[in-house]
């Protein structure tokens, strides 16, 4: 009845959802405003942001629209590729080449009347804090670790303890083949995306000597073609992994290498998979994870039921196995922890070696960092004059820069909106 004034609604439209919104359940929060209060909030006030309009994003948008969210925003920088069509069900062959965000928004608005979807075809980094502050919550359906880290750090930075509205719950979904995960992050309160960085699989890195001298796997031959042969033959020309001609070139060079070493299994598809680091994806896993994310969004927005605390992991390769657990906040998390990270290293370590360590450690993974102490700049990436001026420090050993007993370092993280404090101690 509450929404009868909305011209788009028809009798019975929310018959199913309203059964949940009209009555509290046994595990419902006391703050739940059963009836019109919660329906009005969900359908007239709530504003939700979806990051990504790909495999998860398409499912998320459809679920949110059916659940009753009416003011949805979506950001995606990608255009539609033919390989998206097996699962990104808002797109048709005629849409190939168009913006995912725009096509998805139009489809949802046509199919579910009364829902407004505002697309943005561009990067999440283009938007400022004021933009993100307007939403009640954010759902990420991304395949990029870097984009997730950026979004996570941005939402953590947004939290102002004086203003409870500034805390934007972040729901993050991810899938790979038959596996996936969904999690609820309450910035500064629960563990954040950065806290769990060490749960990511380490990317397979093949030693360069294996690639150059003793290839054994088809992947070694493909790496040889892309890492060693491409720059040698093409000089500065950048490889475009979306260009089929470039993949074909790599494939034929890798295939020749494989033939020479009698290695089987180099194919065009494997070549593309290795150089683009393609993650297999299917519609059904996306459906499960997106449903789970939207279910959490619905429960949080309406307080109609308890929500996930805080990590749901699904493994569908052998039966249906899932694991729900509370991932713990890390006190030394560079984004939400507050405590400095302590590193005990040899006094023979140079600044360059330290930078390499910060890049490679699973729990840090800060690429292209700039480092300073409270009194001096040790190494800065930009501007070029400062880079040049600080470059000689790279070869110096740390005691020379920090003093014999070590000290505190400020590390800014390339393209990510946070900095970490690292305390260096020397082993004897």
């Amino acid at each position: 009845m509450a929404s009868s004034e909305d011209t788009h609604d028809w009798e019975g439209r929310y018959y199913h959802i309203d059964q949940i919104l009209d009555t509290p359940g046994p595990r419902t929060d006391e703050a739940f405003l059963a009836g019109d209060g919660v329906k009005n909030f969900l359908r007239k006030e709530a504003k939700i942001l979806v990051i990504g309009a790909g495999g998860l994003g398409c499912e998320i948008l459809a679920n949110l629209a059916l659940t009753g969210f009416k003011d949805i925003h979506v950001i995606d920088m990608d255009t539609i590729d033919i390989s998206n069509l097996n699962r990104q069900f808002l797109f048709r062959p005629k849409d190939v080449g168009k913006s995912k965000a725009i096509v998805a928004a139009e489809f949802i608005m046509n199919r579910v009347p009364g829902v407004k979807v505002s697309p943005y075809f561009g990067k999440i980094q283009d938007k400022d804090d004021a933009y993100y502050l307007q939403f009640n919550l954010v759902i990420c359906g991304l395949d990029s670790v870097e984009a997730r880290r950026w979004m996570n750090a941005t939402l953590v930075n947004l939290v102002d303890p004086e203003n409870p509205e500034s805390l934007k719950p972040l729901i993050d979904g991810g899938t790979e083949g038959f596996k996936g995960q969904a999690r609820v992050i309450l910035p500064t309160i629960t563990s954040c995306y950065e806290c769990s960085l060490d749960m990511l699989n380490k990317p397979t890195a093949f030693p360069i000597c294996t690639i150059a001298n003793t290839p054994r796997l088809p992947e070694h031959c493909i790496e040889w073609a892309s890492v060693l042969e491409w720059p040698r033959v093409h000089g500065d020309k950048k490889m475009d992994t979306d260009n089929p001609d470039d993949i074909s070139w790599l494939y034929s060079v890798a295939a020749a290498r494989a033939k020479e070493f009698k290695i089987e299994g180099v194919t065009w598809s494997l070549t593309q998979g290795v150089v683009k680091n393609i993650i297999p994806a299917i519609a059904s896993t996306n459906a499960i994870i997106a449903a789970s994310c939207c279910n959490e969004a619905f429960k949080i927005a309406t307080s109609s039921a308890a929500y996930l605390n805080n990590y749901f992991m699904l493994i569908g390769t052998e039966g249906i196995y899932s694991y729900t657990f509370e991932h713990e906040k890390r006190d030394d998390c560079p984004v939400c922890g507050g405590e400095a990270l302590e590193l005990s290293i040899s006094p023979d370590t140079t600044l360059e070696e330290l930078i390499e360590m910060l890049t490679e450690r699973q729990d840090i993974q800060i690429k292209n960092p700039s480092l300073s102490t409270s009194t001096k700049q040790l190494y800065l990436r930009a501007p070029p004059q400062l880079e040049e001026a600080t470059r000689p420090n790279l070869q110096k050993k740390l005691p020379e820069l920090l003093g014999p007993s070590g000290g505190e370092l400020n590390v800014t993280a390339g393209t990510l909106p946070f900095s970490a404090t690292v305390i260096i101690k020397f082993t004897t």
């Binding site: 046994p26 459906a287 749901f312 569908g316």
Partner: protein, 449 residues
């Protein structure tokens, strides 16, 4: 410039470096990476994916139109639910045929049972328990067979029962005098076979392996002493993999059970039982290793990656491969009965190459139909509290979650790849338990009972 021409000349002399894949392959690229061409072919051939039928006798209500993304809002209200949903679904993929059928399932069950049997998979949802029971009874005798489980556990290298050619190769290497670089590139299985054989010869025994923890420790020390330089990684790898020497190669219990299950089914027209029976006979009379009268399956084709040189690994792969093809010939030519000559080569190869990954199960826990229906049943009762609160609520996110789970199971069954729900337990528990997945979307967890 000169360099690039060399490369081009080199590459043009290759067999056709088939360029970019066709549009269809590109469309399905992200799933082909999971189940390859064989799985995709199964999906296409199977009437369910090249073709699906939606059976529903009811008309679209306002509640349905608000709840189903593939209905066209108010425009669909009052029309056939099957027809309206099929229209929406057909749009997804023009390579798939969708048919709406407006008969009542009760009517079909009473007068056209055989029609239901023409489908590869029947998914029932939100159906009355009586209907589910009738469907289960009708579709009961089917058995699901899984050929490629994509298991993440390592294949046996059969170190403890090395086949003669491998043993001979391992013993022929002049470890102390060979080139030091070659020495550092001997693949670890060869090192293990050599070390174990020397250990046995010292004890004048043909079989056996270190068993006490002291013996195992001494054995690892022995591998370490075989190193000629301190940093030979292949020997470090062999030491780490030494457990393979004292882990006996046996027929896995799931496959043992398949042998029992198919011991009397030689009359089956299907090729799979014939292959299982051939495997079973191979395991009983393995001609290649007469000293072991039973307990060995043909060798699997996969070798894990290991520290080695290209040449050394090729030599080892060659030894394995020659033996493998002999095993496959023995298993298929020797034991597949003549009347099953219709067994397709590719399927035969798939079965034999993947045999440690073969799982099979009988009766209802592996029933595609059963699993799907029971999964869907769980949707209705997704939690006691929720159903008391909303006895007839079909919330979109819950429906999508369960729909996704059912779809995953259906895909696994049709492609015969990956392991469907409760497959592991099914073989061992016989006709015991159902594979019922329970989902709680308040605290967000799933469980299989």
């Amino acid at each position: 410039m000169h360099e690039s021409q060399t490369v081009e000349r080199l590459t043009t002399s290759l067999e056709p470096p088939s360029g970019a894949p066709d549009a269809k392959t590109r469309r399905y690229d992200r799933q082909l990476r999971l189940w390859a061409a064989s799985g995709q072919a199964a999906l296409r051939i199977c009437s369910h994916f090249g073709h699906f039928t939606l059976l529903d006798s009811r008309k679209v209500t306002g509640a349905d139109a608000g709840n189903n993304f593939f209905l066209d809002g108010l425009k669909s209200v009052g029309k056939s639910r099957a027809e309206e949903a099929v229209n929406g679904l057909r749009e997804l993929n023009d390579g798939v045929q969708g048919v709406a059928d407006t008969r009542d399932i009760k009517q079909v069950l009473s007068s056209q049972k055989d029609w239901l049997k023409t489908f590869d998979v029947v998914v029932a949802h939100n159906a009355h328990p009586d209907i589910i029971d009738d469907l289960a009874a009708l579709l009961w005798p089917e058995t699901h067979l899984l050929i490629e489980s994509h298991s993440e556990t390592a294949a046996s290298l059969r170190i403890d029962k090395a086949f003669p050619a491998l043993l001979e190769y391992a013993m022929s290497l002049p470890l102390d005098t060979m080139d030091i670089t070659d020495h550092a590139h001997i693949p670890y299985p060869v090192i293990l076979v050599r070390a174990l054989e020397e250990w046995r010869r010292e004890r004048q025994q043909a079989t056996g392996a270190p068993s006490t923890s002291d013996e195992k420790k001494a054995f690892k020390e022995r591998i370490r002493k075989m190193m000629r330089k301190f940093d030979e990684e292949n020997f470090e790898e062999a030491e780490a993999q030494a457990w393979r020497c004292w882990t006996p190669t046996v027929v896995p219990s799931e496959i043992q059970q398949l042998f029992t299950l198919y011991s009397s089914s030689s009359s089956s027209p299907s090729s799979f039982p014939a292959l299982v029976s051939a495997l079973s006979q191979f395991a009983q009379n393995n001609p290649a290793s007469p000293q072991y009268t039973s307990g060995l399956l043909p060798l699997t084709s996969g070798l894990p990656d290991m520290k080695s040189s290209t040449e050394a690994i090729q030599a080892e792969k060659k030894v394995f491969k020659e033996y493998l093809s002999k095993d496959v010939d023995d298993a298929s030519c020797g034991y597949v009965p003549q009347k099953c000559a219709c067994v397709e080569g590719s399927e035969r190869e798939r079965v034999e190459r993947n045999q440690p990954g073969i799982k099979g199960a009988n009766k209802l826990s592996m029933q595609p139909r059963e699993t799907a229906t029971h999964l869907a049943l769980a949707a209705v009762r997704f939690s006691v509290g929720q159903s008391a609160r909303a006895p007839s609520a079909d919330i979109p996110t819950t429906a999508a979650f369960l729909g996704g789970l059912v779809a995953q199971e259906v895909i696994k069954m049709i492609t015969k790849q990956y392991v469907p729900i409760s497959a592991g337990d099914a073989a061992s528990s016989g006709d015991g338990e159902l594979g019922v997945c329970v989902v709680d979307l308040v605290e967000t967890w799933t469980g299989v009972i």
